[in-house]
Symmetry: D3
Subunit: 197 residues, 6 copies
């Protein structure tokens, strides 16, 4: 663990702490994440600035991806469509990479960053993204009709809750990343861009 | 604990579970909250729908109010100003009540729900609310200049992080409350409206 | 009448005149209003700044509430929904109090200030508020279709004219109150908040 | 008076009454206006639909143009700039004609309908229009700074009140004209378009 | 040709060149245009600032009006509706004049500058303008549904392409005219305002 | 030339013609472009639908990149920032690739698609992008002040015209690509993503 470092340029508006100075549970989580990814995603380095928020943020994130009625790639579709609408550089790029991995589609992230209405998604997923983007852009205009639209294309009650939850969480996440000026790791930009069979 | 119940009308778009059916840690947290407030705030009944999200949501919330460089009433000022801009009925009313309590000002919540620019806050708090509302309404337009504005009126680096964190979290919270159509308890509407000396 | 005064803090961007210095017809109207309400609503003190406008403003207002095909509480529902959307502190609070009185519902004003879509109103009133808010936010997009929607839920031709008139007048009123920074009387904030049987 | 008529096509969403059926005070006012203009401006025919509103509307209007600290052409500049921003066909055309008459400038109305920032107005009037348009488009964002800007270019306190009042009134007027689909008389479109020396 | 000049006030943010200094092909085009119109429309004087752009701009414009599946007046309807929404003074006035000529309707341009929804156009043209304005204001929200709407009212595939092309081109043209502060010739303001039989 | 084809999926809302059926000058231009790029960019296949527009579109484009006072990479910076704001999938991806090539920076396009305010550009280029994005989003608000800002950071008069021209042209281009649902070639997505020394 002695070689683990956090990138000073992970964010530009707050100082990134030294790995050796952060609490052990954060060190452990970062080490694990680093091993899995092959590098330390900058969002971990950035949130290490405030350990109590680091724990809360990643616990919420983990709940969203581990206890969900949605497919793993659908979660990332929502994340990228929401981040595209909010114009979040960090999330576009980091979650764009994840989406390319989970969907095995090297173009889907670029589509969703631009405009989910032109993306190669199913009719059902299009309704999901309609609601996620509406909840992002004009939450006060969401009505029972939107929930019914999701039900009609087959999403379960719990999946509908999860769609809202992922959307809501990335409205938090985008704002933290943009406020702190978080920078995606170089690795994310080019990851999983080759076509997979 | 046998008499504890959750209000069926706590939210209108998802079923509120029976108190007896939810995990023990949620029961404990709700019992504690109920004892403190004298009633069960409906956001607890609503989030009990999905225990993993209940835990994540309240842990994040607790971190924001317990480990903060902001004054307790400043946290609620941000919450109410952000919720006013997002048009969130639940948060306007429930956090409006908290703000009346913490600020000892019976009019401040109505002011912030309407328009923070007309509220009786200090010059320094006005800058805080300028940034919180900008991060809510047009996060992509936040620049280094906004951070400097906060620094110039005396907010510490950590306080600036906390201003962003509270703002970001209630952009999550508002969206969950509006999507689920959460309803504030009757008690919140009239709470702490008398003038305090 | 010698004890009648106008609150210096009724508005913050123009001077409030002395009661003794204003024309007699204004004095009479203010005295009458004060007797009815038990205090002088600050909008009277503020408009006394310019007597010709005082007369025109309250005459228009009186026509709207005295010669109308709408129920009295429906008029106030429109006022509060429009003021909520325009973010007018004075009108939210003063007309929120009136709405609590006329509707005998202590929560309705808080709902309409936040988001009429989550308010406890009838289906018919929801259509009325849809049109009032559309005419407020994007008047150029109102079409024949909106008028037909009102007709279909049973509003008479005159009631439809009145819905537009109340909406239009409070688009005037909100702007004057916000421009002059009018402040609602303390009394309005807490008025009629107890449940009525 | 027997030949006076009201144009059936003065508005398209409510019936225009017969001249003979409206109250005498409305008949007198309309006759007077008709004599002055050479034709009956359609806004009179339209508001005759509801006499109590006719009286209130024109009394307010008269107060704004008769008891004002602004120059007569400045009043119409505000009206046309506000109506242009609100996209009101009736007011653009009818008040465009008035502005051409009062300003003796045949191009100013077309400029203000399009974009007051490109109009041939003085620096001082540009500030006036900046505030009028801001109060129209985003009234919640008006602050003390805007009032100071007006003061700095020399507008008196009463003139500042009047700028707000004209702006606010035409936010009412535009909405009534657009909702009722009022149609400007043919005469207004071409009136006063020749250059005056 | 020796008397041909370009108006120095054709635009205000870049210098208008001397007619004698511009390339011969531009001189020829301008001479031809001047002969046709009786004066030199200022857009020619303005674009002469950069000859390569002059050629590209007018070639594109010519393709749009010469090789089109739309009626000539429909092209100008789109231009004026789009320019009205974009608030372009030059295009409102210059193309407003053209529309009055081609449509033989002296009021249509004032209607479309204000609000195409109140204009005297056919049902079919209303759908055309719905799509043109949507593509102008929120291009990301255009979907297959909009294309189908055009098809259903009878526009051919090529006409649909042309509707988009005229709209897109005037989103270019409006921006150049507004950026350079181009000024419509005096002649355009009053042209073709008399009723034609 | 017999092997040249146009991709049927170059756009989804209009048919792509057969290469053999299009005019010779289009064939020549496409062949040349194909040889240079190694593939036929889909915008050529799409615009071949209407040859007169194909010629006008690419002539304007060529003028913008061949006769310019801007650096080649600055042109593409504007294109990508404007396309990001307009949410144009085709232009984000195709011009993102060009920008990576011209700037030799594999991350700049992802930054500008998201938010030019977080991009690694010079202070001077930031002002250029401020104006390009303002001219895209709210062209009516551009004033002399914006032109002065560009002048102050050193852009020549002609460069300022060119900044506006590139911005205006891609407001056309984005709208055509989005309306026709043009699809970027697979090759563009991954092109030039490796770091260059």
């Amino acid at each position: 663990m002695s070689e683990q470092t956090l990138d000073d340029d992970a964010m530009r508006r707050f100082p990134v702490p030294d790995f050796d100075d952060i609490p052990e549970d954060l060190q452990a989580r970062i080490a694990e994440e680093t091993e899995r990814a092959g590098f330390t995603p900058n969002v971990f380095s950035a949130f290490a600035y405030k350990p109590s928020h680091f724990r809360a943020f990643f616990d919420y994130h983990d709940a969203l991806v581990e206890d969900t009625a949605l497919d793993r790639d659908e979660v990332e579709m929502i994340v990228v469509a929401v981040s595209g609408v909010n114009h979040c550089y960090y999330c576009n790029v980091a979650h764009g990479a994840l989406l390319r991995i989970y969907s095995k589609n090297p173009k889907l992230a670029d589509q969703l960053v631009a405009n989910y209405r032109q993306a190669d998604v199913s009719e059902r997923q299009l309704v999901m993204l309609d609601v996620a983007v509406k909840l992002t852009e004009e939450p006060a205009k969401v009505t029972e009709r939107d929930i019914e639209d999701l039900r009609e294309v087959g999403y379960s009650e719990e999946a509908i809750w999860d769609i809202a939850s992922v959307t809501a969480f990335f409205n938090l996440s985008n704002r933290m990343a943009m406020f702190a000026d978080m920078r995606p790791n170089d690795e994310f930009h080019g990851m999983a861009r080759a076509k997979r069979e």
